[in-house]
Symmetry: C2
Subunit: 334 residues, 2 copies
């Protein structure tokens, strides 16, 4: 058996093995709901609090199990690689973390995720659980895509986890938590670029081909087509391309305050993400947009794809307070 | 100009651009000593405390600037990619963080680093600064290597930063901090594997060639030769190979307690590191070795190399207390 250049045992077992390895590494933070690919907090359910459930296809680690913990999610449901989790697994997650205060589902805008999370919500409601849903669609690159009607949800989702999670932790109602999640969604925009494809283990070959000196602007986190292919450019030029598209869409004004996320897609080293951030910071400064906080690292990946995305979140006092509130998860600690 | 598939501007400027991007991202944690590649704490120097200085070639991010901050390092000196920092820059770092309580240099065992840090130490001593040095040589793969006499220093170095940093933060003397750093060095062992080479930006081509179905066991973090090349194996087999070599060298007994680090070299996704950890946990459990804590992620990389290393640190009560002590850096937070 050829194992590609991947550290795996069996391409059909990668999600199971990963989940087992995560629980073994972090038993103080996570437990696995037996017989499922659902990860919940080690001390779940948390009484007297709205519960947050997210998830989606695997291959985007640390999304989403990396954000399960105090101040962020209560549960994450992992589908197979780049495949939506099934409604029954999402339902199990909802039932495991609800304590009678309701559950917010945070869904990235992909047709499969939307359908399966909505079906799970209906099943949960039929069992008497109060459920609300928000759909993240922060990717400004394209309207409609391979798996999406409307805009795709990408790394901006992590800000929704953080901020809605912080409000839920303070004891807010389901309606209030849903409202602040939608506020983040209204104020967050992202766009990405890729230099190489990635390989889904079970497929055994790269998901697309791209020339040796080419990059794809606006690519999705599953390799969905972006806006165009062009010759590899410098980090400064890439910062310009992505940020100008984001800023066209956001209509920020001088004096506005933002959080910036420079997200690596898996194969791009931290060094290069910081190089990109230098130009991103300079562009924002030139426009008199104030950067409150910058997050640089791998927050939502595409297996081993080389590339990155830039996310801007427009802040106000409420969002700043919630962004800074305590969080204790594998991938985000405040 | 061909930019490879890298997010850079100029291959000769990557370290400068990275440092600028880091300071712009984390002004609350880091500042750059003007005219140098030295990163120090934003609020350095810290009065009344032994200062810790580390560093080495760039390309291993988040090592070492990612560990500058409360509870870990006081300064990190960045050389060019895979190139030792110069003595004058190391001297500047020492002078910037010393407050009269002495400075501990934490050096990975590479001939260039050793020579330049030693020269800087002599120059600092000539200026009346008390300096101690420890040399990390955790890599059990090979004795002597391309750039090393003896064993190489790799990811285990991060445990030295954490534990010696915690003791320094408590107000211990230079001698005590040096002693605990040497205790970590005596009790930490690592070994790595690579599936792909990496490309130093200024070189413009991969540092070595490796077959499509081959891996190199025991490789160094600059691509130095390991023990042998063999066909790609499963994650479980790789865990067996690396861990058995480490355990041969460590002579752990049933009932011993360890910290485990599963370190990605840059191009290997988090999913795969967790898959590896599953087997590592099982092997240790079968030997009745107790895992106190597991760290999974990118701690010391080799640009975009696909591969990983495993590190074990044998713990006692003192080391556990220092490992758990507060730390607030970009790449390590307790």
């Amino acid at each position: 058996m050829i194992f590609l250049k991947k550290l795996i045992n069996n391409p059909e077992q990668v999600v199971r093995d990963m989940i087992d390895g995560m629980v073994l590494a972090h038993p103080d933070k996570l437990k696995n709901l037996p017989g499922t690919n659902v990860m919940i907090r080690a001390h779940a359910p948390v009484q007297g609090k709205v519960a947050l459930v997210s998830g989606g296809g695997s291959g985007h680690e640390p999304s989403h199990a990396g954000y399960v913990g105090v101040g962020m999610l209560d549960a994450a449901v992992a589908g197979e690689v780049f495949t939506s989790p099934t409604p029954d697994q999402i339902l199990e997650a909802i039932k495991a973390v609800d304590t009678g205060n309701g559950v917010l589902l945070i869904i990235k805008n992909y047709s499969g995720d939307l359908m399966n999370f909505e079906m799970a919500a209906e099943l949960a409601e039929a069992e008497g659980i109060q459920v609300a849903k928000v759909v993240v669609n922060d990717d400004v690159a394209v309207e409609n895509s391979t798996y999406t009607t409307g805009r795709r949800g990408i790394a901006g989702t992590v800000f929704v986890h953080k901020i809605a999670g912080a409000l839920a932790e303070k004891g807010a109602s389901l309606e209030e938590v849903e409202q602040v999640a939608n506020k983040v969604i209204q104020h967050v925009r992202s766009m990405g670029v890729a230099f190489t494809p990635c390989t889904v283990p079970a497929a055994g070959k790269p998901s697309f081909e791209i020339g040796e000196t080419e990059m794809e602007i606006g690519i999705g986190i599953h390799g969905e087509p972006g806006t165009h292919r062009t010759a590899m450019a410098s980090a400064d030029e890439i910062a310009d391309i992505l940020l100008s598209r984001i800023l066209d869409d956001m209509k920020l004004s001088p004096g506005d305050q933002v959080a910036v996320m420079i997200n690596g897609l898996g194969g791009t080293p931290l060094m290069e993400l910081y190089i990109l951030n230098k130009k991103v910071s300079q562009i924002l400064k030139n426009k008199d947009i104030s950067v409150y906080n910058t997050y640089v690292g791998e927050y939502m990946t595409a297996i081993e794809m080389a590339g990155c995305s830039i996310t801007l979140l427009k802040l106000d006092d409420q969002l700043i307070e919630l962004l800074e509130a305590p969080a204790d998860t594998i991938a985000w600690k405040n």
